[in-house]
């Protein structure tokens, strides 16, 4: 019995150990490249440049890799692509990765490390551009994008730009919006200060205050509007501890103290904020456009709310944070011409319009917002466009995940009162300085 017990325990421990350290194994050599990079000039030197002419008369097969196509817009697009170009011998198929953004990134990263040509085109989150580019995993699409530059909303192109080159074509963009209750708020407030002031007496404002990526976005929206910043222009130095960031953070902290925002926002992600807003009490909500259609199905707020682009920060300007996805081409693609043709088609006027009308995806192309069908399908098209136009990208860095953690952990602790805003910025600054020194 006792011997067997000891053996049993040892086996259990071994199994635990194997399970635990197993995840260390799959990352293997080359130690995954954190996130993006900037500052180190020439990090993308020698990257292959796409030949725009190669897409004329392209033939063969191409694969479009993406996170799970939950709405179905990609599958529809690829089907149309195949009916249009299949006769010429160009066929596309879809390869779906899991829904989670981290997992999509892992899947793509693994294929690129293995120099696999499985993914010709990949649908990359806007925050991955810099990392993929420095790892030399992508074709430089500058000549192609240059030829279409005027079509895109300029801010969406900043999300594909790294090291002065453009690495992808924006396919879906996104920007947070200010939701407000028309029965509680007479007029859209012109400043964030007004928003909070009205919120205090009308049921509050809800946003994403839990310690995760969403809080980084929510904080930066206010901080950028207040004139703040995170890193130096070349991305090499942390400049997080500055008076403008402090203004924004104090503003958020005071908002919770004086009851403009419920203290429960410190545990809210998008869904919690949405449910709280739909329950009828809050007068304002910061959320992504997806909450619009859902809100109009919620009995308590249906038809009683509208959206607006963000107001300005008193004494400073307006800002937002850009979301969305870009189509990038793998440098290991065996059919770059066909891949470019596919990207060209998936980001065409026709497809982007269709995605907006049928699937409520925010268009990165400026002209699409003027389409009557789009205006009808997205009643807030004008506000959304303005939101996208004034949006900025998140800090570009190879150690972005650590930078983002330094922001959301410390901001969250300031919101819950665990540390003062001054301490939070000081700690965030120190953590970023350490992160930037990562080997």
């Amino acid at each position: 019995m006792s011997r067997r017990l000891i053996l049993l325990v040892l086996c259990a421990v071994l199994a635990c150990g194997a399970a635990m350290v197993g995840c260390g194994g799959d990352d293997d050599e080359g130690g995954g490249g954190g996130s993006a990079s900037s500052g180190e000039s020439g990090t993308t030197e020698g990257a292959k440049v796409i030949d725009v002419k190669s897409m004329d008369a392209a033939k063969g097969n191409v694969t479009y890799c993406t996170g799970k196509d939950t709405s179905g817009d990609l599958k529809e697009g690829l089907k149309k692509f195949n009916t249009e170009f299949g006769a010429d011998g160009l066929k596309a198929k879809i390869l779906e990765f899991p829904t989670s953004a981290d997992e999509q990134r892992n899947q793509f990263v693994q294929r690129q490390r293995a120099k696999s040509g499985e993914c010709d085109v990949f649908e990359a989150d806007v925050i991955w551009t810099a990392e993929f580019a420095t790892q030399k995993w992508l074709y430089d699409l500058t000549p192609y994008i240059e030829s279409r530059k005027a079509e895109f909303i300029p801010s969406t192109l900043t999300s594909v730009t790294y090291d002065k080159k453009m690495w992808g074509a924006p396919r879906v963009t996104d920007s947070g919006l200010l939701f407000y209750r028309t029965d509680k708020v007479d007029k859209v407030p012109q400043t964030w200060q007004d928003v909070y002031q009205q919120a205090a007496s009308e049921g509050g404002i809800v946003y994403q205050g839990a310690p995760y990526e969403g809080l980084t976005v929510d904080f930066l929206e206010l901080a950028y509007a207040a004139g703040g910043k995170v890193l130096s222009a070349d991305g090499s130095k942390a400049e997080f501890d500055n008076p403008n960031n402090l203004k924004a953070l104090k503003f958020m902290v005071d908002g919770i103290k004086d009851g403009s925002a419920p203290k429960s926002v410190t545990t809210f992600m998008e869904e919690e904020a949405r449910r709280s807003f739909e329950n009828g009490k809050p007068a304002f909500m910061r959320n992504w456009p997806y909450a619009y259609a859902l809100g109009n199905e919620a009995p308590k707020v249906k038809g009683k709310f509208e959206v607006a682009p963000y107001p300005s920060f008193e004494g400073a300007g307006k800002a937002g944070i850009l979301g969305g996805h870009n189509a990038v081409i793998s440098v290991y693609s065996k059919n770059p011409g066909g891949a470019l043709k596919l990207v060209d088609y998936m980001t065409s006027d026709e497809r982007i319009t269709r995605n907006a009308v049928k699937y409520s995806k925010a268009p990165p192309l400026a002209a699409v917002y003027e389409d009557p069908a789009v205006k009808k399908a997205l009643p807030f098209a004008a506000e959304l466009k303005q939101g996208v136009e004034q949006a900025k990208t998140r800090p570009v860095s190879q150690v972005y995940s650590q930078i983002s953690q330094a922001i959301y952990k410390n901001v969250n602790e300031a919101l819950t009162g665990a540390q003062t805003p001054e301490q939070a910025l000081k700690n965030g600054q120190a953590e970023m300085e350490k992160a930037l020194q990562t080997f």
């Binding site: 150990g17 194994g25 954190g34 995940s401």
Partner: protein, 310 residues
Amino acid sequence: MEATTVKASTPQRRRSRGLSERRLAGYMLTPSLVLIALVAAYPIVYAVWLSLHDYSVRVPGLKRWDIGGNYVEALTSADFWEAFRTTFVFTGVSVFLELLLGIAMALCMHSAFKGQGALRTIVLVPWAVLTVVTAMMWRTIFQPDLGFVTSMLSTFGLPGADIVWLGEDGWALAVMIFADVWKTAPFMALLLLAGLQVIPEDVYDAAKVDGATAWQRFVRITLPLLRPAILVALIFRTLDALRIFDLPFVLTRGAHGTNTLSLLAYQELQQNRIIGLGSALSVLTFLIVMTVSLVYIRFVGGNIRALTEE
């Protein structure tokens, strides 16, 4: 026991046959040993190997030797010791509560009554639910504003309606412990029930004849005879609890004093992709779990031997 009998009766034949038998046994064990080495030892050795290097997050493929540096960094960071403390507080409190509840539940299930089989099945339901799902469920229940707990408290005018359960130090850990106890107490109960069932009824009958009260029977008979089962259950639960990952990951993402060792290792390895440091953290967690189990065997394993020999 049989081996010694053979030894005694046929001393001469044993020597030649024993050797070859031993060798044969060795050969026969080789495949399983190789398999164990591949499945269990390889990842562990590989993690140790990774933890002795730095892998660049900037330049693809760049790495360098860093003997011990990652361990020094891990052991000198405040995050590690906070996670260490959280993990042990969580383990200690949750396993203790699970044991108490488990014993109580096992005693209930052990007493004969109609529908016993059905009850045993029902009791196991929480344990059958995936931990991630459990965590999601409790997160919704403890949600401020709309969550069940908050609405109940405010409906009845009880204090605590304004507590942000998952957003305050202390409460967040309490919810995490609560969710774990809810989920794994039935498992504990089942292990203990198996132990209860091997205790012969006549012992109790004899005690009754001698005039022992119910409490005396419980303390003097049930508990001592249940000890081997309790120890096995404790070891299982302790090792499990020390590696807790899914509950804090879903409930709080490690904020508000709920960051555990496994979660910390995950953050460095998967989110930040700092492979050397992340592996060092995994190895440290592994060593801690190993140490705890050795302590169990050292101080408790002996007891079991004594008990079984009685």
